[in-house]
Each structure stands twice: as structure tokens, then as C-alpha cells.
């Protein structure tokens, strides 16, 4: 348990029982968390959960593979709108529409991710980043202007809550908490296995040194495409969770500003590992709330704190400095 090893006595560091105890406590904490809180706090935690998925998805591209990409909000939006539109237009009034829309979201964001990945092969770092910026603007502008399909700036409303048959409806923040965090945990487990396995390691090799990676027969093109598609799909899943949670989608949820927010969460928290983006997300979510008493000057102080963190610790809170 590298994270807290430094704080523990020798005999606890290796103990398996100890690990299970910690995991158990964590599990209990996570399971009981929503109860003592009020609805507003639950909402914040739910949104934090969605953004955890988004930060992790962005980190797959930036932290694992070294591909700087500034359009997670675009895939997030595509996932959300796909799900919403499917539920409202294609299969209205049916409870399994929501669950059916998940594979649809995966396929759709995957394809879009593939299209975005293609320029990555030709454009170096910075230029690819700018191209993704453009892609993000394109998606936003399309969502905002294709009124017949997406409702444009008026948004897409009335997205039904998820349901399992007719007896279980996800209609309050507590139930959504479990739904959202179920996926957060599943995705974390998935990413953990991916990271330790050959695919994830190949991506990290590409990040470190493309030439060297190609000499050990890692297919650079394939790695980059795979990483970007994975990143896109995960962002889309976050959108899929978001759509029925807020019930009303508006293009303003998927602007460049959102992408920059997600990017900041990843960089401030530390990229390239699983916990960094999670910490970054939680920090950036709870900081404005903690600063709420100062109301007006909130964002100024928020910006200053971000500046200070990044100046003092450019690799992010849980990141590693390369050299």
C-alpha cells in the first residue's frame, strides 16, 4: 500500500490483515457516506463521482500515454446526449432504454474517439492538443446549434430516471450515489488491471520514449489509438451517468471550460496513477464549497490556490517528477 506506507510501522506495512482492515473500513465509509449528509452535499458528492470518472478518463490519455488532449467534455457531452436522445426519441417510455443506451454510448464515443485519434498519429504533442481543442469547440457548437436534434441552447429536458423493471427507480440522490459510485469503483478496478497489464504498460512506454518502445515491438499507432478510444469511452460513460441524474442537458455543461476544469483536476492531483486524478477531483470540488463563506471572492482565491499548488508542486500532488 504505497500511499500510506511511509506513515506506518514496519510490521503493518506488509501485513495482509492490515490491508483488509483498511479496505473494510474504506468500504464501510463509502457505503454509509450518503446518509448523514443533506441533499446538497449528496449532490456535490455525486457530481464529484462523475468527475472522478472524467478525470480518470483524461488521465488515461495524458498521464498514461502522454497524449495531451483537451476535449474530455466533448466526449462527455456526446455520451450524455446520446443516452438522453435515445431515451427520449428512440425508445421513450421504456425502462430498459437507459441500460440499452450504455452499449450505444460506448460504440458511439468509441467511434468518435477513433476519429479524433487519427490526427494524433500525424500531429506532434502541442498541435494535437490544439486539434482536440478545436474538436471540443466543434462538438459544443454543434450541440448548441442543431436545434432539431439537440434542442440547442434550450437543452434537452425530461430525461427519465433510470429504472429496473417497474419496482426500483433511481429517484433520489442516495440511490444515484450508489449507481454512480458503483461505476466509479468498477472503472477503477478496470483501470487498475489495465495499468498493470501489457496494454497499459505499452501505453506508458509510448509516453516515455516512442522510439525505444517501437524497438521492443510496441505498435505505437495502435497504442495511441487504443488509449484515446478508451479515454473517449470512459468520458462517454460519465455522460451516460450524468444525463438521467440531472434530467436536463444543456450544451453549457460541455464547454471548453469544463474540459479545462477536468484537465486541471488531473494535473493538480497528479497524473499517471489512479489516485492522483481522484484526489485532484475531490480537491477541486470541495475547495469551492469550503470557500463558500467568502462568497464573492471564491473564484479568485480558488485560482490563486491552484496557481500556488502548481507552482510549488508542478508534478501534481501525487505525481512523480520525471528525470
Amino acid at each position: 500500500m504505497p500511499l500510506i506506507n511511509f506513515a506506518l510501522k514496519e510490521k503493518y506495512q506488509q501485513s495482509i490483515t492490515f490491508r483488509y482492515v483498511i479496505l473494510g473500513l474504506l468500504a464501510v465509509f463509502i457505503i454509509l457516506l450518503p446518509f448523514p449528509l443533506n441533499n446538497y452535499q449528496r449532490h456535490i458528492i455525486n457530481m464529484a463521482g462523475i468527475f472522478i470518472i472524467l478525470s480518470l478518463s483524461l488521465d488515461v490519455a495524458i498521464g498514461w500515454t502522454g497524449l495531451i488532449h483537451i476535449a474530455p467534455a466533448a466526449f462527455y457531452g456526446i455520451g450524455a446526449y446520446t443516452s438522453g436522445l435515445f431515451m427520449l426519441r428512440v425508445m421513450p417510455n421504456s425502462w430498459f432504454a437507459y441500460w440499452l443506451s450504455l452499449p450505444l454510448v460506448v460504440v458511439f464515443t468509441g467511434l468518435t474517439g477513433y476519429l479524433v485519434a487519427l490526427p494524433a498519429l500525424r500531429l506532434r504533442g502541442l498541435f494535437f492538443a490544439v486539434a482536440t481543442l478545436g474538436f471540443g469547440e466543434l462538438v459544443f457548437t454543434t450541440l448548441n446549434n442543431w436545434v432539431n436534434l439537440t434542442g440547442g441552447p434550450y437543452g434537452l429536458g425530461g430525461i427519465p430516471r433510470p429504472q429496473i423493471a417497474s419496482f426500483f427507480v433511481f429517484d433520489n440522490p442516495i440511490k444515484f450515489y450508489y449507481l454512480i459510485y458503483f461505476f466509479v469503483i468498477m472503472i477503477c478496478i478496470l483501470l487498475f488491471r489495465l495499468m498493470k497489464g501489457p496494454t497499459g504498460r505499452a501505453w506508458m512506454a509510448v509516453r516515455e520514449d516512442e522510439l525505444a518502445a517501437s524497438t521492443i515491438r510496441i505498435n505505437i499507432k495502435r497504442a495511441k489509438i487504443e488509449a484515446l478510444i478508451t479515454s473517449a469511452i470512459l468520458s462517454g460513460v460519465a455522460g451516460w451517468l450524468f444525463a438521467p441524474y440531472v434530467s436536463y442537458l444543456s450544451p453549457s455543461n460541455f464547454t471548453l471550460g469544463e474540459s479545462i476544469l477536468i484537465l486541471t483536476m488531473v494535473i493538480v492531483g497528479g497524473r499517471g496513477n489512479l489516485i492522483g486524478p481522484i484526489i485532484g477531483t475531490l480537491l477541486l470540488f470541495f475547495l469551492p464549497e469550503i470557500l463558500r463563506p467568502i462568497a464573492v471572492y471564491r473564484f479568485l482565491l480558488y485560482g490563486i490556490i491552484l496557481c500556488v499548488i502548481i507552482i510549488l508542486r508542478p508534478q501534481g500532488l501525487l505525481g512523480r517528477l520525471k528525470k
Binding site: L133, E137, T264, I267, R271, G303, C307, I311, P314, Q315
Partner: protein, 289 residues
């Protein structure tokens, strides 16, 4: 009609170009994209506005205040944020510049307020016609001023000893310091000059449109950034050319294609250019033409 749109595009494009020069200078020397540059542009407009409307000074005073103020702002940005981060990973610098732009925007918002202010009419709005084309003297003034400033810069970089030092630092930081150039001083100079250029651009635009607000920097900053990539990052002429291309493309798109997609046009043009020239029109890694 067409010529009119081109003229309008040229005007706004040359302003994008001025701001883009600021981006490209800083990138050329530090490999850093200073997203807070758009806010320097905005501060320039506000300093002029404060001088003229609030302090009731002359236009000359305002311009001097802008040059001094934005140069100072550039210097402070370097000293407080970028110098401590020298050597950090590029993406952290990116996030740092984004955080800095957030801070600057908020400072402006608290200092002046969040509404849109009218910029005092300092220039006569008279125009003349050539056939169907109507050109205001202000537009001519803008074009002349932009090209003049860009040329002054070019002369500075290529014909003066200090300019040579700038080029040296942009080519190889360490070697330049071995040869007796103080890179930190050069960098301060770059930030100050780039800042002043951006500030003047801000004054130009707000006097052209007659209004200014604390969030005017973001849209222009983004366009100018795209322009500078388009022209080949590190190239001054490329930045100006990129700005003009984007200005014209945008005006034409608004007039003839689809006004609602105007934000995306800059990127579409960029992607098209990058497709054929992956590093931009005059793209090289150093600060050269």
C-alpha cells in the same frame, strides 16, 4: 459584399496578429503557451478606459499608461508564476497559465465590475467610400498601427544587438548564458514587450467596437493562439499572417456560411493547414521566420 468583408476581416485579423505575436514570442523563447496573455490584452483595454473615462486624461497618457502597465503585468507574470516554474513539465505550465488567467480575470472583475463598459470615442468615425466599399479611418489606422508595430518588432529582433540576444536565447538557452547573455533579463524583456503589444491590441479593439468587459480576453486569446499555431509557432510573421487569415476566414464565415459556427472556423482553418503542414505555415522550432 466580398471586398467589404475582406477589409473588415483584415482589420480584426491584424489585431489577432498583434496578440498572436505576444504568444509566439513567449513560446519561441520559453516553449510556454501563456494562456494568460488574453487577459493582458483585456487589462490594456481597461487601463486605457480608466485613464480616459475615469481619470480624464488624454489619449497619449492612456497609451503610455497602457504600455507601461501591461509591460509591468508581463514582468509580474514572469516573476511570480513562470520563473518559479522554470523547468517544470509543459503541461503543468499550461495549467498554471490557465489558473493565472482565471486569477487575472477575477481581479479585473473585482476592480471594475462585471458589466460591459462603453469605451470612450477617441477616434472620429468618419469613413470614405471607394465604390461599394466603406472604410473608416479607424480601420486604416488599425491596419497601419498593426503593421507598424509588427515591423518595429521584426526590426528589433533582426537588426539590433538585443534582438540577437533574444534569438540566441530562443535557440539555445544554456549556450546563450554561457556566451554571456543573461537569459532571465531577456525573458523579462520578452514578457514586457509581448505584454505591451497585447495591451495595445486591447485598446485598439475596444476603441473599434466601443465596448470592453472583463471577459473580452478569452475569446480573442483563443483566436490569437490558434493564429499563432497556424502561422507556425515561433515565427513573428507567421503569427501576423495567421491572425489575418483567421480574421478574414471568420468574417467571411459569418457573412456567407453560418454565423453560429464562428467560434469553430478558426479551428477548422487550423486543422486544414495542419493537415498539409503539420507544424504550421512557417513552422520551425526556433524563433525565426
Amino acid at each position: 459584399m466580398l471586398l467589404q468583408q475582406i477589409a473588415n476581416g483584415l482589420t480584426i485579423g491584424s489585431v489577432y496578429g498583434l496578440v498572436a505575436i505576444g504568444y509566439t514570442l513567449i513560446f519561441g523563447v520559453l516553449r510556454l503557451i501563456n494562456f494568460a496573455h488574453g487577459e493582458v490584452y483585456m487589462f490594456g483595454a481597461f487601463i486605457a478606459f480608466t485613464s480616459i473615462s475615469i481619470l480624464n486624461r488624454s489619449f497619449i497618457f492612456a497609451i503610455l499608461a497602457v504600455i507601461f502597465g501591461t509591460a509591468l503585468l508581463g514582468y509580474l507574470m514572469d516573476k511570480v508564476v513562470y520563473r518559479p516554474m522554470r523547468g517544470s513539465p509543459r503541461i503543468s505550465l499550461l495549467v498554471g497559465s490557465l489558473a493565472l488567467s482565471l486569477v487575472l480575470r477575477n481581479i479585473a472583475m473585482f476592480s471594475w465590475g462585471s458589466r460591459t463598459f462603453p469605451f470612450p470615442p477617441v477616434f472620429p468615425l468618419t469613413s470614405f467610400r471607394i465604390g461599394d466599399l466603406r472604410i473608416t479611418y479607424l480601420q486604416i489606422g488599425i491596419l497601419v498601427a498593426s503593421f507598424l508595430l509588427a515591423s518595429i518588432f521584426h526590426l528589433f529582433i533582426y537588426k539590433t544587438k538585443l534582438g540577437k540576444a533574444v534569438r540566441a536565447v530562443s535557440l539555445n538557452y544554456k549556450m546563450a548564458s554561457v556566451l554571456g547573455i543573461n537569459p532571465n533579463r531577456i525573458i523579462v524583456l520578452i514578457f514586457a514587450f509581448g505584454g505591451a503589444l497585447g495591451g495595445i491590441a486591447g485598446v485598439i479593439v475596444s476603441s473599434f467596437y466601443g465596448s470592453l468587459s472583463f471577459d473580452m480576453g478569452t475569446a480573442v486569446g483563443l483566436r490569437a493562439f490558434v493564429a499563432c499555431i497556424l502561422g507556425g509557432i515561433g515565427s513573428i510573421y507567421g503569427a501576423m499572417l495567421g491572425g489575418i487569415i483567421i480574421g478574414i476566414a471568420e468574417t467571411m464565415a459569418i457573412a456567407y456560411i453560418a454565423p453560429s459556427y464562428k467560434d469553430v472556423i478558426a479551428f477548422i482553418v487550423l486543422v486544414l493547414v495542419l493537415f498539409f503542414k503539420p507544424t504550421g505555415l512557417f513552422g520551425k522550432k526556433e524563433l525565426m521566420i
